[in-house]
């Protein structure tokens, strides 16, 4: 699959504050992002013949009906939740390389007016598995991941100052991005003054809760060369995960060597092999930042530093856009720019490789994108100019 497909179109709605996208419907936001992506690519709606989703996906029948797409040849969804964002590009590439479709839309969107994601686990249905955590007060993902963060601190000496550095480095990128939700600079003092939600996670360790949609168009590299934009080549996109990770935050019985991680190690290894590159080749990384602590654990799982060294790695300034060896979440990430199920990270990687990013990394040629650490599957994506 290496180097046979490319991202050729990019479209997004504004990143709205939670609930502020009303009265637009979720399908309307999705449709707007798709139409923008098609225009950006220099294609027409009638060219779309496939959808590759994640996190439950959307109603292909309704999208086809309302957008006027003549025929769908491929419609599939990666299982799991936000873990599939980066992997949905691979699903699209698989459809194209296998000849099932030619122009495939990958789209992520959320609207949190009725149910905020911060407390989403408290709204899960009663199941035999959920009965083993529902009494304990793990009301949201940030509360669950706090347990992994605490274990990481215990095992490796990671500190809240390390989490603060992730929050501040990513905020610094949002400050210079007009699209970002939070543009006020954050100091160490600001971080430590923030309310503690689920110790050790304070407010600034949590991502934003936005409404919005981001869509990209994937097609064959051959066809991409004739389109309007410089193709952003898909070198690799893998998903899955090891049994030791499993249901992860809903299970909490991961072996000790896996517990305080992002669950990405197995996927990272396959992704680098599939793309034919090493961590040192990556110019910028868009790391799924639902929580600061999970950025640190993903940096370890993707081999930018050794296991347990994520704290010292970020403390050295490595992920800073100015002066760091690996600029991370250059748009301000989901912590400070906008949260759209990780598709914001795909968007920013494409912008960086086109050379059109607001906070452009000089000579960015290779970008890593990760999907959200959660239940299997998790996923990763490597893109190139």
């Amino acid at each position: 699959m290496r180097d046979k497909t490319a991202i050729v179109g990019l479209g997004a709605t504004p990143y709205y504050r939670r609930g502020a996208s009303s009265p637009q419907t979720l399908e309307e936001l999705v449709g707007k992002s798709i139409l923008a992506a098609v225009r950006d690519a220099g294609l027409a709606v009638r060219d779309i013949d496939g959808f590759a989703y994640f996190a439950g996906g959307f109603d292909t029948g309704l999208l086809t009906e309302t957008l006027g797409i003549p025929e769908i040849r491929f419609s599939a969804t990666l299982t799991g939740t936000g873990g599939g964002s980066a992997g949905s590009i691979g699903l699209a590439a698989a459809a194209i390389v296998s000849g099932q479709a030619e122009v495939v839309v990958c789209v992520g969107a959320n609207q949190q007016g009725a149910q905020r994601f911060g407390s989403i686990t408290s709204a899960y249905p009663a199941t035999p598995e959920n009965a083993f955590f529902s009494a304990s007060g793990l009301v949201g993902p940030g509360h669950m991941f706090a347990l992994l963060a605490r274990r990481h601190m215990h095992l490796y000496g990671t500190t809240r100052d390390d989490f603060a550095e992730v929050a501040m480095a990513i905020r610094a990128n949002a400050v210079t991005n007009p699209n970002a939700t939070l543009r006020k600079p954050m100091s160490r003092e600001d971080y430590f003054k923030a309310p503690m939600l689920a110790d050790p996670h304070c407010l600034y360790d949590f991502c934003l809760e936005n409404d919005g949609a981001v869509a990209v168009i994937v097609t064959s590299l051959e066809r991409a060369r004739d389109l309007r934009q410089t193709p952003v080549r898909v070198l690799g996109s893998n998903h899955g995960g090891a049994r030791d990770w499993g249901r992860s935050i809903y299970w909490m019985n991961m072996p000790d060597e896996t517990f305080a991680s992002s669950g990405h190690a197995a996927v990272a290894k396959r992704l680098y092999a599939a793309a034919g590159v090493d961590p040192k080749d990556i110019d910028t990384a868009q790391i799924y930042d639902h929580f600061t602590s999970q950025v640190i654990m993903q940096l370890e799982d993707y081999g930018f530093c050794a296991k347990g060294e994520g704290g010292p790695f970020v403390r050295s300034g490595a992920i800073r856009r100015n002066g760091g060896s690996l600029p991370v979440n250059t748009d301000g990430g989901q912590l400070s720019c906008g949260y759209v199920w990780g598709m914001t990270h795909v968007r920013e990687a494409v912008e960086q490789l086109r050379g059109s990013a607001v906070n452009q990394v000089p000579d960015a040629r290779l970008a890593l994108v990760t999907g959200g650490p959660s239940v299997i599957p998790v996923s990763g994506l490597i893109l190139a100019t």
């Binding site: 009663a126 083993f132 304990s136 509360h143 347990l147 503690m196 689920a198 049994r243």
Partner: protein, 145 residues
């Protein structure tokens, strides 16, 4: 000093299947069970239809002492749902259960100063009857080592 409370009781929603029912039945008389594979001895938590090591479906239910230690924890200090305020702070903890080969339970620490909680703290089960669900919820409090 802030004593750890119990999370809002309405958060607990019981649903069972044939594989988890014995665990919850035992809680009615305050007994903590582990599902141990009757063929290879592997413990799985929560109980599921197959042993991940040998794929056997045979379970030998093992009665546990209710002792264990804190594997990790989070102190919840702020309400993000209506009605949470009256129950703060509470401590959600993962407990490594004694006698269960490292199997862990997601639970709470109660009757403890939240500032005194540490990873590795020895604990003992306490039972909170949940009449609306017809079972009891295992929670934990610190004990002397």
């Amino acid at each position: 000093m802030a004593i750890a409370q119990r999370p809002p009781p309405e958060l607990f929603k019981l649903s069972t299947n044939a594989w988890t029912q014995p665990f919850w039945d035992a809680t009615q008389h305050h007994e903590l069970l582990a599902a141990r594979c009757a063929d290879c001895g592997q413990v799985r938590m929560p109980p599921t239809p197959f042993c991940p090591c040998c794929q056997s479906q045979k379970i030998r239910w093992q009665s546990l002492s209710g002792r264990g230690e804190v594997y990790s924890y989070t102190i919840v200090e702020r309400a993000i749902l209506p009605g949470m305020e009256a129950h703060l702070p509470y401590v959600t903890a993962i407990i490594t259960l004694d006698g269960a080969d490292g199997a862990r339970l997601i639970s709470n620490l109660v009757d403890v100063d939240v500032a005194a909680v540490t990873v590795g703290m020895p604990v003992q089960v306490v039972w909170d009857d949940a009449p609306h669900a017809g079972v009891a919820i295992p929670r934990f409090k610190p004990v002397e080592p």
